[in-house]
């Protein structure tokens, strides 16, 4: 028999923190990770010894990255598990932290994502199975093909893809943790380097590095640790699935994203209409249009209309990627999913200043990991 997260002990995000995402640098990963961790501890009003266990999402640093990092903030004996799930490594670390608290094994658990640029290795290159196309394992090509298909079938215009990127770059320009901090116009996005089809470089997320941390607690942990009662944000759904073979033209990861979102809604007891903020996997601009449809924020085939009418803008019906998303805030892999939790938590607490979605109560974080897997978390202010 399976149970939903909502059927277990309630789990709350009590503290979040980040190290800004940035282009490749000499900054040690430990410095970035501890910056995010100390910010999350300060946000929760906790000291490190309160953390009973930690899940570390990383893709390229190497074995025992978390344990080595924790040597420099105190060897408290906490349980320590490293998690790799490609782009969703941070999201999976967060899921495991939530499940551990929900299951009653711990009262205060840390999810932290940290990564440096450039050390990642892809297992598919060790598969020893060739493909007809030399770009068969490059997601950009799949999404560029999808964009061309939608341009022919549904009138998707290059300006729509540029509109997603311009919105997200402009959101990121107001985000102190974002890798890109320049507002961009549709014209500027269209004028950037052409990469594949009508997809330009500014429609693609940058690679980089950074860190993000989230601390989750049970109600017992909140009481025992004296965490302020009006700030915790409850996690009401946590769902992860992997893709099935492609049926028809839809990319399997898009079909999968819909399945995961629907399961997350069911688990949280909500519908898409309830979402005030969504952070989703916009590695490429076309993805945001596709996912706003599969998540039910816009009717199928009308994602570009939702965008054009401002539905996904801050102040619109549901602010999508108010952080700037992967395109603007960045996509350092290990931290990305936890960076989404950071954004949503602060949105639900009403702390995001000029990027604030007014009255936000419910948010969803969604990531795709190479392979593909999809993962979604619903967070709710009670």
């Amino acid at each position: 028999m399976t149970t939903r997260l909502a059927d277990r002990r309630p789990v709350y995000v009590v503290g979040v923190g980040m190290h800004p995402y940035q282009f490749a640098s000499d900054t040690p990963y430990i410095e970035m990770g501890l910056t995010a961790l100390r910010a999350a501890l300060a946000d929760a009003g906790l000291a490190f010894p309160a953390i009973e266990s930690a899940f570390i999402g990383t893709t390229g640093i190497g074995m025992a990255a978390g344990r080595i990092m924790f040597n420099h903030i105190g060897s408290t004996g906490l349980a320590c598990t490293q998690v790799e799930n490609a782009s969703a490594s941070g999201s999976s670390a967060f899921q495991l932290a939530c499940l551990e608290v929900a299951a009653g094994r711990r009262d205060c658990t840390l999810a932290i994502g940290v990564d440096k640029y450039g050390d990642q290795k892809r297992a598919v290159l060790k598969e020893h199975v060739n493909r007809l196309s030399d770009t068969a394992h490059i997601p950009l090509v799949k999404y560029a093909l999808m964009a061309e298909h939608l341009a022919k079938e549904k009138g998707l215009a290059p300006e729509d893809l540029a509109g997603v990127a311009a919105k997200n770059h402009t959101n990121a320009s107001k985000n102190p943790f974002a890798q890109f901090r320049k507002p961009r116009s549709v014209e500027q996005v269209l004028a950037s380097t052409l990469v594949a089809g009508s997809t330009t470089s500014l429609m693609c997320c940058p690679r980089g590095e950074g860190a993000a941390a989230a601390i989750v607690c049970s109600e017992e942990g909140i009481r025992r640790l004296g965490i302020a009662g009006d700030r915790p944000v409850r996690v009401t759904a946590s769902v992860l699935q992997s893709e099935r073979p492609q049926q028809g033209r839809e990319i399997p990861s898009v079909t999968l994203a819909q399945e995961v979102a629907e399961r997350a809604y069911e688990e949280a007891g909500i519908t898409a209409d309830a979402l005030d903020v969504v952070e989703l996997h916009d590695a490429f601009a076309i993805e945001e249009i596709l996912y706003t449809e599969t998540f039910g924020l816009a009717p199928k085939g009308a994602g570009q209309h939702f965008l054009r009418e401002g539905g996904s803008a801050i102040g619109g019906r549901c602010a999508v990627n108010a952080s700037g998303g992967l395109i603007g805030q960045g996509h350092p892999l290990g931290p990305t999913g936890i960076g989404q939790v950071h954004e949503i938590t602060r949105q639900l607490r009403g702390e995001q200043g000029e990027r604030q979605q007014q009255g936000a109560r419910i948010g969803m974080a969604h990531m795709i990991g190479l392979g593909s897997i999809a993962i979604a978390h619903v967070l709710q202010r009670e």
Binding site: D134, V141, K152, V195, G197
Partner: protein, 137 residues
């Protein structure tokens, strides 16, 4: 010169003007699959010794295509047109196309042809798809 770049995927057809694709047929579930996995049937999970090699002519239906303007992978010399093609009923694969966008339309019949490319160690025969001259108009 008949060195194939990816001999696990294709072979020269008789006459050498087209390529045949190397599928697998599962003796347990009868499903065809491509590429031929050395590990087992991707449909039912039967072990590799349940898979039988099955060559098919490289005819396919082009579903869509896009031009790559950047060198996204080793061996790619932009502009390069790539597409999605149905190489057997229900089996969709990304393929590389010979020519430019003006040579192709969605839904057209295409066929795998040998295409000489330079790789480390010299020239080899790669697989490209081109409009199928034998297809019904």
């Amino acid at each position: 010169m008949t060195t194939l770049e990816k001999p696990d995927l294709y072979r020269l057809a008789e006459g050498g003007r087209t390529l045949e694709l190397r599928f697998a047929r599962c003796t347990a579930c009868d499903a065809p699959s491509f590429p031929h996995s050395p590990y087992g049937c991707p449909r039912c999970g039967a072990p590799a010794d349940a898979l039988r090699e099955e060559f098919r002519d490289g005819r396919a239906t082009l579903l869509g295509f896009v031009t790559l303007h950047a060198r996204l992978a080793p061996g790619i010399e932009p502009p390069q047109v790539v597409g999605e093609a149905e190489i057997a009923p229900g089996l969709i694969e990304e393929v590389m196309l010979a020519g430019d966008e003006t040579d192709f339309t969605d839904g057209m019949a295409i066929r795998a042809i040998p295409h000489e490319v330079q790789r480390e160690g010299g020239a080899v025969i790669a697989c490209r798809f081109a409009p199928d001259p034998e297809a019904a108009p």
